[in-house]
C-alpha cells in the first residue's frame, strides 16, 4: 500500500512536470508579443520590462527559471494586472471554484445514486422511462444551454414570486451557490444515474441477493446493505474523472453566472494574453486534477477490499 502510494505520487509529479513543460512550449509557440499591449513602448522601458519578466534570456534558460520557480510554487507576476502575483490570483479564485465543484460533485453523486437506484427498482415501468429520458436529455444538452435556461427559469420564478428566492448571478452567500452547483453537476449526475442503474441491475440478478432473500432478510435491509453498497462501488471509480469533467464545466457556469472563480480568470487571462497567469493557472489546475485522481484511486482501494493495489 505504501509503496503503491509512493509510486503513484512519483508518477503524479512526473506528470505535473510534463504538464508544465507542455504549457511552456505551447505558450512560447503563441504568435505575438506579451508586451505588445503595454502602453509605454519606448525602447528603454521595453528592455526593462523584458528584463523583469526574464524575456531577454535564451529560451532554455527561461525554461529553467520557469521550472525552478514552479518547484518553489512561485508563478511570477501578472502581465496585465499591475504588480499582482499569480499566486494571489489563484488563491483568491481557487476556493470559489473548489466550493462550487465540491457542491456539484456532492449533488451529482447523491442524485446519481438515488435516481439510479430508483430506475433499477422501477425497471421498465413508468418512473424508469421518465428518469431514463431525462438522463438522455441531461447527457445531450450542453452545459451552457442548461446554465442559460437555469438562469432564465430563475428570473421567471423570482418575477412570479415577487421576491428574490435565489439570486440570478454573483457569488458570496450559500444562496448564490445552489443553482450554479446544480447546473454544473447535472451532466455528471445523468452519467452517474446511468452507471448506477446498470450496476444495480447487475447486482440484483446475482446469487448473494437471492440467498439473502431466501434467508428471509427484510427487503429494506437487502436493498441498503447488499444491493446499494455494492452498486455504489463503480460510481466511486468514476468520481475521479467526474471531478475533472466538473471542473472543466465550471468554466461555462462561472462565465454565465458571473462567479469569480479560476475558470473565469483563466478565460480572461487567455483573452488578454496574460502569459504568467495562463501558465500558472494551467500548471496549478493540472496538478490539482492529477492528485485528485490519485486520491480517488487510493480511496477506492480502502472502500473495496477486493481491489488489490499493485
Amino acid at each position: 500500500m505504501l509503496t503503491y502510494t509512493l509510486k503513484r505520487v512519483v508518477q503524479g509529479i512526473v506528470t505535473v512536470w510534463f504538464i508544465a513543460t507542455a504549457t511552456f512550449v505551447a505558450m512560447h509557440a503563441v504568435p505575438g508579443d506579451p508586451l505588445a499591449n503595454q502602453r509605454a513602448t519606448t525602447e528603454q522601458i521595453r528592455q526593462n520590462l523584458q528584463a523583469r519578466y526574464g524575456l531577454d534570456r535564451p529560451l532554455i534558460e527561461q525554461y529553467g527559471i520557469f521550472i525552478g520557480n514552479t518547484l518553489q510554487g512561485d508563478f511570477g507576476i501578472s502581465f496585465t494586472q499591475a504588480n499582482r502575483r499569480v499566486n494571489d490570483i489563484i488563491f483568491e479564485s481557487f476556493p470559489v471554484s473548489a466550493t462550487l465543484g465540491v457542491l456539484a460533485v456532492v449533488f451529482a453523486a447523491f442524485g446519481g445514486v438515488v435516481w439510479g437506484a430508483l430506475t433499477a427498482i422501477y425497471r421498465n415501468r413508468l418512473p424508469d422511462h421518465i428518469i431514463t429520458f431525462l438522463v438522455i436529455l441531461g447527457i445531450s444538452v450542453p452545459s451552457f444551454v442548461v446554465a442559460a435556461l437555469g438562469q432564465l427559469a430563475l428570473v421567471d420564478i423570482n418575477a412570479w414570486l415577487g421576491f428574490s428566492l435565489l439570486p440570478v448571478a454573483g457569488w458570496g452567500s450559500v444562496r448564490h451557490m445552489i443553482v450554479p452547483s446544480m447546473v454544473l453537476g447535472l451532466g455528471t449526475m445523468a452519467y452517474l444515474t446511468r452507471l448506477m442503474r446498470s450496476s444495480m441491475l447487475e447486482i440484483t440478478g446475482s446469487d448473494f441477493i437471492r440467498t439473502a432473500r431466501a434467508k428471509g432478510l427484510p427487503s429494506t435491509r437487502i436493498f441498503l446493505k447488499h444491493q446499494l453498497r455494492n452498486a455504489i462501488l463503480p460510481v466511486v471509480t468514476v468520481l475521479g474523472p467526474a471531478i475533472a469533467a466538473i471542473t472543466t464545466g465550471g468554466f461555462v457556469v462561472e462565465l454565465v453566472f458571473a462567479i469569480p472563480g479560476l475558470g473565469r480568470s483563466f478565460v480572461q487571462s487567455v483573452q488578454q494574453l496574460d502569459y504568467t497567469v495562463i501558465m500558472g493557472t494551467t500548471v496549478f489546475y493540472g496538478a490539482f486534477l492529477v492528485f485528485m485522481v490519485i486520491v480517488v484511486d487510493l480511496l477506492y482501494g480502502l472502500i473495496d477490499p477486493r481491489v488489490r493495489l499493485e
Binding site: T15, F18, I19, A22, T23, A26, M27, A29, V30, P31, G32, I136, L137, I139, S140, V141, P142, S143, F144, V145, A148, L152, V155, A244, T247, T248, F251, V252, L255, V256, F266, V267, V270, Q271, L273, I278, T281, T282, Y285, G286, L289, V290
Partner: protein, 463 residues
Amino acid sequence: MNTVERFNPLDFEPVVIERQVHAISRPSLSYWQDAGRRLRSNWRASASLGIIVGLVAFAIAGPWVWRVDPAAQDIDQISQAPSLPSTALIVEPSVPWAGVTSEPIRAGQAVTELRLAEPATTQTVRLVWEPVLGATGYVIYRSIYDPAPDRALGLPLGDVLGAQRASYEDRLDLDPTRYWYSVVVLDASRAEQDAYTTLVVDVVRAVSPEEAVARGWASDTAAFGVGDQITLPFHPLGTDYLGRDMLARLAYGARVSLFIGVVAPLVFVLIGIVYGSIAGFVGGRVDQLLMRFAEFVIALPFLLFMILFKIAFGIGPGESGVFPMLVALVILDWPPTARLVRGQILQIRQEGYVSASQLLGAKTGYLVFRHMIPNTLGVILVTLTFAVPSAIFTEAFLSFIGMGVAPPTASWGSMANEGIRTMLPHPHELIFPAVFISIAVLAFNLLGDGLRDALDVRMRGRE
C-alpha cells in the same frame, strides 16, 4: 479359427446410414450482417441514424437550397422572430412635419380626442389631440404593453411644451407591431398629472421607393408606385442580433460543427489505431515508453490545453479558426483509442485462432488484416461513434466561450454564444442552435449505444 470360416461374406450387407441432416432453418449470417440486423431492429438507433443522415443532408444541401448569405447583415430586421414572409407598404418619402397647434377650449386632467393625423407606418407615427386649458406642456409615452392596470406607460418619448401644442411625431425605432401611446398633461408647475389618455396604434411596415431600392428589396423605383406592397426578404427561422438569416447560419453552422465533429474523431481514431497497434505488436520497452507518453497526454487538463493550443496555432485575419481547433482536438484526443487498440491487440494475440494461423505459416501482415483489424473494428466503430458527440460538444463549448471559430463564421456553438446575449427578449436566437447541438449529440449517443449492443456478441438473443 474355425469360427471365421463360418462367416460368409455374402451374408453381410452394408448398413445404410440414415443420416438425419439438421435442416438449417435460418440463413447463415456473418458477424456484420447479424450486427446490422440487430441495429435495424433497435428503433432508437435506427431513428438516430435517420436523424444523422438528415443533419448531414441539411449541412450539405442546406446552403445550396437556401441561397442566403449567412454573413449578410440587415440592420432593419434584427432579432426577428420566426415568421411567414412579410410585406411592406410603399409610401412617399417622409417630409418634415411642422405639427399642429390649436387653442385649448376645455379644462381637464387629460387630453381628449387623441388620434392619428395619418396612418401609422414604420416611418412615422403622428399623433394629434385636443389641448387642455392651463396645461404647460404634454409628455408622450410609448409602450408595447397595455398600460391600463398599474399605469405602466412605458418609454417616455419626449415632451412638448406650451398649452397650444397639440401634436407629436414619433420616429424612434418603430417596429411593425402594436403600440400603446399615452399622453400626460403637465400642470402649471410642470408636474405630471396622474390622469392620462391612451391610444392603441397598429404600425404598418412601410418604405419609400428609394429606400427599397437602396436596401436591395427591389431593383428599380419605376417597378412600383406608392400604395403597392413589396415582399421583404424571407427569414423563416428569424434573424439574429445583426439581422443575419438564422436558417442560412444554421445550415453553414451545421457544416462547421459536423465537419469538426466527424473529421477530428476520424483522424485521431486513425492515429490511435496506428499508435496502439505499434505499441501492442512491438511490445517490451517500446510499448512501455509509448504508453507512458499516452498517459501523460491523457493527464493534460483537456479544455485548458484545447484553449492553449488553439491560441498557440493562432488565427490569421480572414481565417475561420476551424483548422486550429481540428489540430488541437487531434493532438489531445488520440490516447484513449491508442490504449483501447493496444489492449485489444494484446488480447487477440493470445487467442487460439491466432496461434493456429501462425502455426499454419501466416505472416504478420496477414494476421493483422485477417484477424486483428476485423476483430477490433467493432470496438473502434463504437469509440468513433461516441467520439463524435464529444467533439461536437467541445467545438460548441469553445465557440461558446469565444475561443472557437472566428466571426463571421457560423457554428452552432458560436450562434449559441451570440444568442445568449439576447436570450430574454429573443429566445429563438439561443434555442435554435441549442436544439441542433442537442439533437446531433443525442442522435450520435443513441446510435453509439445501439452499435455497442449490436456488435456485442454477448448481447445476442437478449433483446
